[in-house]
Symmetry: D2
Subunit: 424 residues, 4 copies
């Protein structure tokens, strides 16, 4: 255990009076306080295994120190995050970066930290050393049937690892695309992708889902074969009820109204879940909520409203995961900030006066509608989040505790200064 | 008749030798020359009635002179365009701007100019003087059933006018949207729109189509209820086989790969047709091909390939229309330039060596694929277009003839300097 | 007076206890509380005369009711806003929409409402009825010297009106641009603009400023002659110390980092001021803070820091104005929301722990820097704003009072349902 | 020599008749034919040393084969390109990737291929193995004076290498920026950058230039310290006459009017030159002219016009270089395509009827202006390019010869399948 429960308690004790004063103040105006706190307590966001090391760009990578060298150490890092914020009770693995040599042993390590395994991720956007055919020109969409077959088999193998770990969803991000006009026949690429996904779909266990991610560009710069939500939904509808659309917040063209997409996918019963991050220009993979927190709130407002309307229990039906890249921050600190931002947006959305909003919408009172949303958004909900964390046994101030305990220094001492997390 | 055939012939005679030299040179390298010329001859693009006057922006309008004051004069202007370019044999009306008082008489006027009536367009983005309920907050998506009903009835009335004129498609551009977060419940708006469209769909005659246009923003600036091709396709699929998706080139977010959308809509059998224009920033409604002619070529490359693959005869199955706004140009000159640019892109696409392209795509030879497309694009196809026009009885140089005959000056003398076309 | 002071006091009395509790809570954690409150009290944002009516787009305009029919009524509306929020003590006129027939009388009307006159705005983006030469192809940049001269003289006349009203700045937004490649010689257009501005500059009274606004597109859609901050600054530097650059938040390409531009203009001593609004797509002119309030906060963070660094007293050196268009909202309500959003951003920026931020920046601690900014931003500063307003004699809840007093209904009764504010 | 002159002559011989026919046809309509051909003959574009290997993205790299393993082999590759197209007579080195161990020997190798050394490029966006301080948080803008000093010294060392090689310009692309709001004090970063550049400027030899590149984002995703042309020009003006602004076509926000920027930089005497490439989304570094060739033409139209207006001899005063990344193409083939696209755009621009264009602009005849530009653009100038190449001793069809001689296969045999060019 990187972080002892007793150290968290000590830190909480010191903040106790201040927190109580703040909580009492904010709580006084919250209707259904208990329900709100309980929903926040129950809310967890998965941590991807690749987010625990320092990322980089095509121009280079400036590594940090003390990065996890093994799957066990990645789990250890997520365990530390979860111990602090009590909102990160699962880890999402990336095959082949994180192939467990012994599934039972790894499950035991995870369980020791209170963690389970979220969706498993396949990787056909890189060539692995012993791979017979290259993915240079794509995988599931490839013009060569043999390459498609290799990629399909890889995905089926990923499902197998996932089954062993107790996961129940396959997340497919397909880099497949083209960089030049003419390089690709769009319709053939789409049909090949559909056929490949159908083969993977056929291999899904009974209780599994497949999540189809979309992205407009990068690593290819002219077209992506699953380029937007419309294309992903088209595929998901052709595949069947186990398939749905995964929304990565950074995978959109400039100015896209993401919350509207979320709302419609919910309406269609095809919202798989999220890869959370923030961005200013493209798929920047910045800390969640660091650039446009109001947009994040608007997305959660759609989620809260849409899930209520459909009677869905969010925790079980939608996948929540962070997918960011930490180039200039300590990865663990970045993840703590991201989870906090997500929970703040969620709590604000829970405070929206939905009855009044509905009335404003029906009377086309745009002024009142904005007032209602902003009243929730402008509320300082941090004490509610802190209280929920406290009730779960986490830290009132996770980042503060992490820094005061010198966790990173200890990791560097233990793991070394120049480690590089697998997959980066 | 604004333009006498004899004047066109005279002008052609003067250019005859030069044209013949150019045509012979280009034609020498074109395989299936006759087929190419015939396809170009057969290709027509509809002119919208609202494009014959000077447009403007919210900041004002600088009117031109000699604008058509009546539907008859609009038809007369399109007749002049068609006489010159022999590629604009239909007109698309906009109701209520162009309500014909006597359908038979109007059809006779059109026939006199060799014109027929293309798709009819409804208008629920403005309030008309005698209208009982306002479209300020939308029409088909409105939260108030009574407003939706009024808008549905208007569309059904538009169909009725279209039937009288011999049109067979209803084009629906829905401005409906919201300008502020919270103003709209996205799912209710979508469901209301679907229900309204279903009522309109039910009123379509047997051989009619309904074309569902999409647009991301403007006149509302936060959301549009039919905002992208995914939303339009979702509606078209729920509506049935008579419904399909209309692509206006200017109705996309920055950097959208429009040709990929076109390709996929063709694949799904749901491409209704086009509103052609060009743009640099948003829905700028500039002259077709004036900003990015290579993109236009790429779109036609998809069309030629996709229509061949599906065995579709383009002239009958896809709607082609210009939808531009002429703020600083003479509208007729702008339309002549737009039609020319469209035909150039089409001719270039017809020259693509499709067998070689297919082979390059199958072997992932991006260099060869680019060479093949660029070889067609870099060819100067203007003599092919001119020859096709000549064979149809049009002008070798339509714009030159228009200017040399002082058509606009004559129109100003006849109609006045300060006319404003209806609807502007 | 549209709104009696006594009605405001009554409304405040009812909210008094609740406000006091909230203020006490928030104030307890604010260092330099008095200074912060005083700065908020002193902060005023000008209201443009054209923002008091319902705007529209090129697709149409859905008018509201009770719009001001005269300059006097516009002043009356601003007076109502200022009575409520005590932060809108000036009005910015637009010539020729608002030519005062009797300057002294108008100044008396304004003074009666506690208002003064902010920067005056020239208009060369529309043709006026009696105008001899057209601005269809631009004004100060025009290829025809006679058109430039007419536009220069108009600007000098606007200065004259401004002098009479006690204004001391001329705000120039130049629509001049082109819609097609080739239409304009960029360098000639720039040099013509410079020459025209030099003539206007020469006519500025001793204590006057000229503010040079920039905008990338619209109403022209290929180029704008003063298209970005770099071009505006180039002109301002060539003109001299009285010229500086005006930033309209909506006048930027997608994803522009506006706060960096603001910081650099402050550094160069060339930040004239702001036209505030918000946008998702282009120059959407939405309510300030309705789309991306965090960006607004980041801009104010630069302002607070930059003004401190330069020892500038903001109230006198920088122009603050709202420039929005109210298409679906009551204009007065929209303006109340905008002013509130601006003051919230300002108050949040005042709460930033600048010493800690400086230290984080010097040690490249991006995590801490973000925590510091977000700590200020996440604070609910509404009670501080309300208190400042209360101390100035305004309403604790301006919008609430406006609605409860049925101001709009009274205006409609008085002015009529179908009024259209001049200039719209 | 990778490519024998005799093989090129053989290939030309086979195409001779066809070429002559095409050239005669096109040449017949070109005024000042000799001048145009001579200008095309004289035009050369530098090849950057890093463009000879297969690039990649942050998601991985799919290497090609036969990549140059040494500086000598990079020169050999450029020599092959130049032998074929006679338009790539210089190479641009990147320090420390290409440090020559013996400058005289390397100059002799280059001379053997008819090559000289273009601008030298410094690199402070990566850490080198033996480097004492990290550039993780920037270099010339760094908050730590010691880091700035290290980066300044590196640049001075690059100049030293450049002097030895006969180069006369230092090209500075500064990645320096920030990924999160608050991370950076924008004004301090700017001032630090200015101070650092001033120290580098002071070390420039008498006849040297320093080119200041700008870029809005990547590798940092919130701000870049030299983020746009306005910031670069501000620095260049503060530095002095040896400093000017370098335009990389991919370094702009969506929808930027690059040709206007080029025009204004020319006007100010501050256009250093170009890094050519093409892009659809961001800094995609695609083959020049592969996405929007009309924009490339418009840029050259400004250059031709602007250089004429200023009496500048382009070959000596402006730097021309390709800066692309070849992820799915053979790098040599990609470079051949890029150079061809650049020369086509240049030739088209040379064909513009400038007198007629000037007249159209002065009379605001947007229709005529567009016709004039499009008449030049739609001309098939490939025979002119081929003729110029022929006269210089190059290949009529460079790519065809490259493929028919199996150059890549030979390189793979010689250098191996799994080489990776230095710097990639």
């Amino acid at each position: 255990m990187l972080i002892e429960k007793s150290r968290i308690d000590e830190a909480n004790h010191q903040l106790s009076n201040k927190h109580q004063r703040q909580f009492d103040y904010v709580a006084a105006d919250v209707k259904n306080l208990d329900e709100v706190i309980q929903k926040i307590q129950a809310f967890n966001i998965a941590i991807p295994s690749w987010a625990l090391g320092t990322g980089g760009t095509r121009f280079g990578r400036f590594s940090g120190g003390g990065e996890p060298r093994t799957l066990e150490e990645k789990i250890e890092d997520v365990g530390a995050i979860h111990a602090l914020n009590k909102s990160s009770n699962s880890i999402s693995l990336h095959i082949p970066w994180d192939i467990p040599s012994n599934a039972d042993a790894i499950k035991a390590v995870a369980a020791h930290h209170g963690l389970r395994f979220d969706a498993v991720n396949s990787n056909t956007f890189q060539d692995q050393k012993d791979q017979s055919l290259s993915y240079k020109f794509g995988s599931l969409h490839h013009s060569d049937k043999a390459v498609r077959k290799q990629a399909v088999e890889h995905n089926i193998e990923v499902i197998k690892y996932g089954v062993e770990l107790g996961s129940n969803a396959l997340s497919v991000w397909l880099a497949d695309g083209s960089s030049f006009p003419g390089q690709l026949n769009f319709r053939n690429a789409f049909q090949n992708t559909l056929e490949s996904l159908q083969e993977i779909y056929a291999a899904l266990p009974q209780d599994w889902k497949v999540w189809v991610e979309y992205k407009p560009y990068e690593p290819y710069f002219y077209s992506t074969t699953i380029g937007d939500w419309g294309q992903s939904l088209l595929l998901a509808n052709k595949l069947g009820p186990k398939a749905s659309t995964l929304v990565d917040l950074g995978h959109h063209l400039p100015n896209t109204n993401i919350e509207q997409i979320v709302s419609l996918l919910l309406m269609e019963g095809k919202l798989a879940g999220f890869h959370f991050n923030d961005s200013k220009y493209g798929d920047d993979d910045l800390t969640v909520g660091s650039i446009n927190p109001y947009q994040l709130f608007l997305i959660f407002n759609e989620l809260v409203e849409g899930m209520d309307a459909r009677g869905m229990a969010h925790a079980t039906s939608i996948g929540w995961m962070i997918d960011a890249s930490h180039n200039v921050k300590d990865p663990i600190e970045d993840l703590l900030q991201s989870v906090e931002a997500i929970k703040i947006a969620y709590a604000q959305a829970l405070l929206v006066d939905t009855a009044a909003l509905k009335q404003a919408q029906e009377s086309n009172d745009a002024v009142a509608a904005q007032e209602i949303l902003q009243a929730a958004y402008r509320t300082d909900v941090r004490p509610l989040i802190a209280e929920a964390r406290l009730r779960e046994g986490g830290a009132l101030n996770p980042l503060g505790v992490y820094r005061s305990l010198d966790v990173r220094s200890n990791l560097i001492k233990e793991r070394g200064q120049n480690t590089v997390a697998t997959g980066l």
